[in-house]
Every structure is written in C-alpha cells, then in structure tokens.
C-alpha cells in the first residue's frame, strides 16, 4: 500500500480527476493548499501597503493505492496535470503500513477496493 500525494494547479483539477477516473482510481481526498516553488510572485497593493504574494493556490490530492496501482496512478496525474510552465507541481509516493475502511473496519487491500 502506498499513499500518492500530488500537488497540482487548481485549474487542472478537472482534468486530473477525469484522468484518474479513467485509470480506475475510485477513491481520493483533495483540498486547497498554497505552494511556493519556482513560480513568479504576484505583487499586490492595498492602499499604502505593498506585498509580495509568493504562494500560489494549488490543490493537493491524496490517494491510497495498492502497490501495483501506483504506476498507473502517477502516470494518470503526470499526463493530465502538466502545462509545461513552472508551477505544475509535484507527486510524492509515501509508504503506508496499514489502511482501514471505516465503514467495515476492513484492512489493507480490501479497504481500497471499490464497493461496487
């Protein structure tokens, strides 16, 4: 079991989700984050106060997958999230020791198999 953590552009989220669904990934969790990387900073001004905003909006996806599923999942993200401009984001693959499905208290493998 692995946890695939991906940081992507918010405007690419739609495509990423579609691509993941096509890759048969059925479960995932996302949320808004802000990232700093090689992107240009934005300058904003509020009355006399000028600020550099050096964090950009991103979306973080967290996907628990069984080992043989890691590759297609990563590929699906890489294919759909790329624009080629600085700021496309990163993918981290983390080891997972155990997974539970809360509804059934099933463990591991079984926990991330779709319900159907």
């Amino acid at each position: 079991m692995k946890l695939v953590v991906a940081i992507v552009r918010p405007e690419k989220l739609g495509e990423v989700l579609e691509s993941l669904y096509r890759a048969e990934v059925r479960g995932l969790t996302i949320h808004r984050v802000q990232g700093h990387g090689g992107e240009m900073e934005r300058v904003e001004t509020y009355r006399g106060t000028t600020v550099k905003m050096d964090l950009s909006d991103k979306v973080r996806l967290e996907i628990g997958v069984s080992d043989h599923f890691v590759e297609p999942t990563v590929k699906a993200i890489l294919d759909s999230a790329r624009t080629g401009d600085v700021g496309d984001g990163k993918i981290f693959v983390l080891p997972v020791e155990k997974v539970y499905r809360i509804r059934t208290a099933e463990e591991d493998q079984a926990a991330v198999t779709p319900v159907s």
Binding site: G14, Y46, G48, T50, V51
Partner: protein, 429 residues
C-alpha cells in the same frame, strides 16, 4: 416648484444611485471569487466615469434641445442647468436623476463580459458608451426625439435602459468571445448570499427608478410604485413554481434572477397599467426569460450573467405588454394599449425595441472596435486563469495574509518620521 416633489425626487435619485452598488453585489456574487473585485469594479467604475461624462456632455446630448436624433451641446458642462424649475423640481435635480440612469445602464452591460475583459479598455468603453450610445437613445425616447414623437411608451426605461443594455451586452459578449473555461469547466457563483442581497437592494432601489420616473410625489408615482412591488412578486412566484416543477428544487439564484426579470419587465409599464395587469405582466414575463436562460447555456454564447435573457427579454416583453395593457383610467388618460382600444400601440412599442437594438448593437460594436485599435480588449489566457482581481487590480477579494511578504518601503526621510507612541500602554497584557 413643489416641495413634496423635490422631497420624493431627492429620495428617488438616491435610490437609483444605490442600484449600481447593488448590481455590483448581485453580479459579484455570481462570479468566481478570483474575479469578484473586477466584476464589482465594472459597476463601481460607472459611478465615476459615466457620472462625470454625463455632467460634462451626456446630459446635454440627451436632454439638450437639438433635433429628433440628438440633443445639442447647449447644456454641456451643465451650462444653464441650475436651480430653476424643470417641471416641479429644480432642473439640476432632474439632471441628477437622469444621471443615475445612465450609470446603471452602462453597469448592466458588464454582466455579459465578466471574468475576461481588461480593465483599462473597459473604462474607455464605458465612458464612450455612456455618451455615444446611452445619451442619444435617451434623447430619442425621453428628450423629445423621434421615438417620443411616434408615441412610444417607456415609463422608466424598459427600452432606453434594459433593451439597450442587453443589445450592447450581446454584441460585447460576441466581440470578446467566451471565457476560456466556458462550457469546459463548471463556473459557479462564489457567494449566492451576496446575489440575494444584491437582488433585495436592487428591488429597493428600483422603487426610485420606476416611481421616481413620475417626477413627482403624485398618484402616478403611487401607481408605479405599487406595480413595482407586485410585478416582481408575481415573477418570483412563477419562477419558483417553474423551478419546482422542472427539477423539484427552487433555486436561490433563480429567485434572485426572477426578481430582476420582474423588475425589468414592469419598468416600461409601471405608470401605465393597472396593478392587476402588473401582476399578470410579471407572471408572463417569467416564461421567456426562464427558458432563454436554460437555452443560452447550451449555446456557445457566453453572455456570462445572462444580461440578454434577463434584461433583453424582460425589457422586450415589458415594452410590448405596455402596448397591450396600458389603460387610460390608470395613467391619467395618457395612453391605451391594444387591449383597451389602441392596437397600434404595440407596433410603436415593437418599433422602439427594434430601433434600440439596432442602434445599440451598432454603436457598441463600433466603440469596442475603436477601443480595440488602441489596446487589446481581452485579458490573456494566463491572466484569466489567475483571475482578473490579481491581474487587473493587484488585489484579492478575500485574503488571509498567508505568505504575504510586506515590501518595506524606504523609510520616510529623516525629519518627517513620526514620533514614537506617546504612551506606555502598549503590550500591557
């Protein structure tokens, strides 16, 4: 001059002025948060640029003597517009009242082109449009122009304001083209409570718009007022029922839209028809707009906030039904509609609508093309992606300050620095 008429017209003018911030809120709630400020600023800018333009030139072109087509420049820079009476109120107050109409009309157009137009060119567009499209059309209908001579009935601006703005909106949406995400991604309203509050404030302001168009605190104002209450109420009822019957769920955005459609539809009719007719008119007006909204979303036309469906159709239905339902018993003998003996009325009304559409569309196209010669109208794809708030205004609507690094200015030169706090209170916790 009549003191009471002055009292009412002062209030009415303030109410109409409030409609523009209300519209900013209404529109602002419907866009994505990354464009909320830009959308609101498209309305607020009108308060400045169209307001000043009106005082300098617009009023004269609209209400100066001139000919059947255009006022002259004899009233430019408000020359000769003073405290002497015009009707029963000071001339200046009349000019101010009309000014608020110009402001809101231009602001209405912005709904069709939100989330993609560069702000500089937009400012040029709105200033020119207020002078060269709005003022002439106002002259035609209210300034003694040819439509007035034909006998068009437009109590408070169904044609001058709403049909006019909608035609401009259609052209502007076509010239600018759809947003990059249009029909590709879901573009959802970021703050529906703002839109509801905006609709509430618009309704409130609209009492000034319609009942103020009686230009005095008289029976005609009372009639217009009452109709401005009943027609949108009827539209709202029908809209909610349509929603319920179609999907089983009555949407709040729909309710806000229904209110505006009812208000638009009753605008030309307000002082001409009976209250019962106003209810009917409001109810009927719901249908075309309701279905046009659904239909528009299936096309490639990115009239983003549906100015055409709400103001164009609402205004047209209102204008035509005014020609049908007007009753001499209610409007002090001014005019009767087709149902009450003057079938010709409807044709005049239709002619007015067609003329307004043609003129407004042509003028809008010309102005946009002209402005486009000097600077690109559209924000770049990347700017659109980031949002116009950051790219056009250098701000965000809602910030939490995370990751914002203060750019420390060079400290003020020695000597001008201010003394340290006089007090020892600081940090007393």
């Amino acid at each position: 001059m009549n003191n009471a008429d002055i009292a009412w017209m002062l209030v009415a003018t303030a109410l109409v002025l409030l409609m523009t911030p209300a519209l900013a809120l209404f529109y602002g709630g419907l866009v994505r948060s990354k464009n909320s400020l830009n959308t609101m600023m498209m309305s607020f800018a009108s308060l400045g640029f169209v307001g000043v333009g009106w005082a300098l030139v617009g009023y004269s072109l609209a209400f100066g003597p001139g000919n059947l087509w255009l006022g002259d420049l004899s009233r430019a820079m408000l020359r000769g517009v003073g405290l002497e009476p015009s009707g029963s109120i000071p001339h200046l107050l009349f000019a101010a009242f009309q000014c608020t109409f110009a402001i809101i009309t231009v602001a209405l157009i912005s709904g069709a082109i939100v989330e993609r137009m560069r702000f500089g060119p937009y400012l040029a567009f709105l200033t020119l449009w207020g002078i060269f499209v709005y003022a002439p059309l106002a002259h035609w209908v209210w300034g003694g122009g040819w439509l007035a001579k034909l006998g068009i009935l437009d109590f408070a601006g169904g044609t001058v304001v709403h049909v006019n703005a909608a035609a401009a909106a259609l052209v502007a949406a076509l010239v600018l083209g759809p947003r990059k995400d249009f029909a590709r991604q879901a573009i959802l309203p970021h703050n529906v409570p703002f839109t509801l509050l905006g609709a509430g404030l618009l309704w409130f302001g609209w009492f000034g718009f319609n009942a103020g168009s009686a230009l005095g605190a008289n029976a005609s104002a009372a009639l217009a007022f009452c109709n401005t209450m009943l027609a949108p109420a009827a539209t709202l009822v029908v809209w909610i029922l349509l929603d319920l019957s179609r999907t089983g769920r009555a949407t709040a955005v729909g309710a806000a839209t229904g209110i505006v459609v009812g208000l638009v539809a009753v605008t030309p009719a307000a002082g001409y028809v009976s209250p019962l007719s106003a209810i009917l008119l409001g109810a009927v007006a719901a249908f075309p707009s309701y279905f046009a909204l659904l239909w528009r979303a299936r096309t490639r036309l990115d009239d983003s906030l549906d100015v055409v469906a709400a103001h164009g159709l609402g205004g047209t239905v209102g204008a035509l039904l005014t020609g049908v339902l007007a009753e001499r018993a209610w409007n002090g003998g001014a005019a009767a509609g087709a149902l009450f003996g003057e079938p010709r009325r409807v044709l005049v009304q239709a002619a007015g609508v067609v003329a307004a559409i043609a003129f407004s569309a042509g003028g809008t196209f010309a102005i946009l093309k002209l402005v486009g010669l000097f600077a690109p109208l559209r924000a770049g794809v990347r700017e659109e992606g980031l949002g116009l708030d950051v790219t056009q205004h250098g701000e965000e609507g809602y910030t939490r300050g995370e990751g914002a690094i203060l750019v420390l200015p060079d400290p003020a030169p020695a000597g001008v620095g201010l003394p340290a706090p006089l007090s020892a209170e600081s940090g007393s916790a």
